[in-house]
Amino acid sequence: MSEQRDIRIEVPVLARVEGEGALELDIERGQITNVKLRIFEPPRFFEKFVETHTCDDVIDMVARICGICPVAYQMSAAQAFERLFDVDPGHWVRDMRRVMYCGEWLQSHALHIHLLAAPDFLGFSNAIEMAEKYPDEVRRGLMLQTLGNDLIALFGARSVHPVGLRVGGFYHAPSLAEVQAMRERLEAALPEAESLVAWAGSLVMPDDQQEFVSAGLRHPDEYGIYSGNMYSDSGLDIDVSQWDEHIREIHMPHSTALHAELDGQPYLVGPLARLNINLDRLPTETAALLQATGVRFPSSNMFHSLLARAVEIHMVVLQAWQLLEGYQVPDRPWVDWQPKPGVAFGASEAPRGTLWHRYEVDESGHVSSARIVPPTSQNQARIEQDIALSLQNFGLDNEEDALRLHAETVIRNYDPCISCATHFLRLRLRRT
């Protein structure tokens, strides 16, 4: 269907995403000819700020990049330095870092599902409207988010920009009593997480099948959270130090965030991609819950991202509870280390996807150069591709308001953190 007129739609701000940007969409003779996710968040220069600082300082500094996923920044950085310095912090540190990371996934996913994404699929314009009809679900979201925040604070002293991590371990180990109290709360939350998976699986999603590459960390023994190889369902399986050989960042004039390509193609990171490539790493209990929903994974329906988040919530509540069993306060929660000059590589799975760091470190242990590749910039090319495909599947002859809402839903589905990627939605639609 073609319309011989120009149409402009302005959405001053895209609600329920972090940051500011716009969407530009041209439809000519029934075909999309231009999709640009314009990001105009000013560059934030963090990679420059960290130069000349010590590795431990850098761990605290990079936590300031994001209020939602500071733990991810700290974990990627700490592991990069430890790898370069040949430091093995040991089993206790590794397990407790995973627990702390579980807290970040829990709070971030619980917020996104209940307050940001679910209103789109239940026909509400925001969470406050949704809370009138679904009060128990929204209360569950708030409870899980608080639990996640408190789990971060248990190890990091506070949930926003925590300060607990250092090269070689933690500054402080929580007391046995604190851990026992947390473990009781995690156990009490397990049935809530179980019902969340069933609820997320029951939501009616658009049947929007697309071909895309799923990428993320994969670990030999566990679901990719804290560490692993960079892996994709297109055959990639590399150590994180080989990242640059396959992933290229490109500057696009319409965005202050870099686009990224994996072997020349857009690719997906984040919950759906991660679950697609880590299905066999799910705990048995979580896998059974997913199976019971009747939704088959791997999935090529981007809207199954919400269910993937719910599945990951169950997994992290279960794993945190399990890893804290038999907790003992260590003599000292860190190991000693000596700096070495060289190039440090580290990656971990932020709630929104793989977060890769590269640092050059001098002989005194100061950072001389840094590169940080966050998940939202990696997804930017995929989001543009998704908007075009999804709108075509939806039908370009729909009314403008419907097209705009659908495009916004597609974008929100990624839970984009534009302040991380460097912020969102003014839609200019031109149809001729």
Binding site: V13, G19, L115, A127, E132, P135, V138, L142, T146, C417
Partner: protein, 153 residues
């Protein structure tokens, strides 16, 4: 006037919550809270807790759980003389333009959500302090006096 408490009755719990962030005029809520800590209220029958909240979003609802009274103190931009203290009611809140962006809900949105979910304390007050200058002694005394008056109700 509140009736006197019986000897064994637990004291009602009051949360004084300064809302803000470390930046510019937004620190006002925190500065007022810090000053209030040093100036005990005239109401020994209350158990008072102080909390500085940094853009708490829906976490604000969690802060208030278990309290009988919550008083939120936040910077206000209403074109009043700097330091003016204004008690905001539900009607005022409804007029506040909701920031539509970002992951975090604003105070007005969090309170609207809390009302829908019946998660608000029995008594809830929002004191706005007009930004534009450091809170002077007069503003602090005004907040302190308003708090005492509210809790006496």
């Amino acid at each position: 006037m509140r009736p006197a408490l019986a000897a064994n009755e637990p004291k009602p719990r009051v949360a004084l919550i300064g809302i803000g962030s470390p930046f510019g005029d937004d620190t006002l809520g925190w500065q007022v809270l810090d000053a209030l800590r040093k100036r005990p209220l005239l109401l020994p029958e209350y158990e008072v807790a102080f909390e500085k909240a940094d853009r708490p979003g829906p976490g604000l609802l969690e802060y208030m759980q278990g309290f009988d009274v919550a008083v939120l103190i936040d910077a206000l931009d209403a074109g009043l003389p700097p330091g003016t203290v204004k008690l905001l009611g539900q009607d005022d809140l409804a007029k506040i333009e909701l920031p539509a962006s970002t992951h975090s809900l604003g105070v007005a949105e969090a309170l609207a959500l809390g009302q829908t979910l019946q998660m608000l304390p029995e008594r809830l007050y929002l004191l706005g302090v007009q930004m534009g200058a450091q809170p002077g002694e007069a503003a602090l005394v005004a907040v302190w006096a308003e708090l005492n008056r509210l809790l006496e109700e």
